[in-house]
């Protein structure tokens, strides 16, 4: 995006202005000296990371509809998009999702079922058992450490992760 700040009057009257004086300020409206408004400093993220539907080798991608991805990609210095499928060319008129042009994308990664254990609406459901297992493990450092060993550190790659969690046939079928 490249804008240094944005006007966001909704913060007026909240204590966020007092607690975060470096990020939010009340300024005079440059177009009307009778009015004051709240401005928020731009975030300028170093990296944006998304999971999307399709990508091509040049970096064009198709992501979920109605999301914030394009805005976040424009605002970020580097952008990584993992996708379910690599195609010859992503068509910007493809109605399966919303298009982000390659100029806003640094890296495209083929990661089928890459959102697991969360879901991708239309392609595969969330894996409720695995998410409940995550929640249960999150109770202590020790139990979450065991979870990480099992699903992250003892697994060398995304492919090995998919083998570990044993894809259900219907998942594989829908995800192509």
């Amino acid at each position: 995006m490249g804008v240094p700040f944005t006007s966001t009057l909704g913060y007026a009257g909240t204590d966020i202005l007092e607690r975060r004086p470096d990020d939010f300020k009340i300024i005079e409206n440059p177009f009307d000296s009778q009015e004051r408004t709240v401005v928020a400093k731009a975030m300028n993220p170093d990296v944006a990371i998304f999971h999307g539907l399709k990508g091509d080798r040049l970096g064009n991608v198709l992501v979920q509809k109605h999301g914030e991805e394009l805005l976040l990609a424009q605002a970020s210095r580097r952008v990584i998009v993992t996708v379910e499928e690599i195609v010859n060319s992503v068509d910007f008129e493809d109605s399966d999702g919303w298009f982000i042009p390659a100029i806003h994308v640094s890296a495209v990664v083929h990661a089928p079922l890459g959102a697991h254990p969360t879901g991708v609406p239309g392609l595969y459901d969330a894996d409720e058992d695995r998410i409940n297992e995550y929640v249960k493990a999150s109770g202590t450092d020790e139990s979450f450490g065991k979870y990480l060993n099992r699903y992250v550190f003892e697994v060398g790659s995304h492919q090995q992760y998919l083998e570990l969690v044993g894809l259900r046939p219907e998942l594989e079928a829908v995800a192509r």
Partner: protein, 102 residues
């Protein structure tokens, strides 16, 4: 035109210790394959931003020790938990920083 198709491992090299990383706010579409690789590479000191809101994306990075600060307007966990569970534990123990931009 530059070839941008890379492996999970190559893409992870784009992320450096201390970076601010932004995610979308959904429990669906979480880029977990990429996040597991960041944990494997032991990236540290990340500030994770959730727009709008956060879920497993921010919670996983906190639980794996990759992120020590998050900024978002809410940190839920779909229908699975009232509050993102690693966030809840680490916040109550004062081991991380949360910036509220409700």
């Amino acid at each position: 035109m530059r070839e941008k198709l890379v492996s999970v491992e190559q893409a992870a090299q784009i992320v450096k210790d201390g970076d601010h990383i932004v995610f979308n706010g959904s429990m669906d579409w979480t880029p977990m394959a990429m996040l597991r690789e960041l944990a494997r590479r032991e990236i540290r000191g990340i500030t994770a931003l959730g727009v709008v809101g956060g879920a497993m994306n921010l919670d996983f990075l906190l639980g794996a020790g990759v992120a020590d600060q998050v900024e978002t307007c809410s940190l839920g966990f779909g229908e699975y938990a009232r509050v993102a569970p690693n966030y809840e534990r680490l916040q109550k123990q004062g081991r991380m920083r949360m910036l509220d931009n409700t």
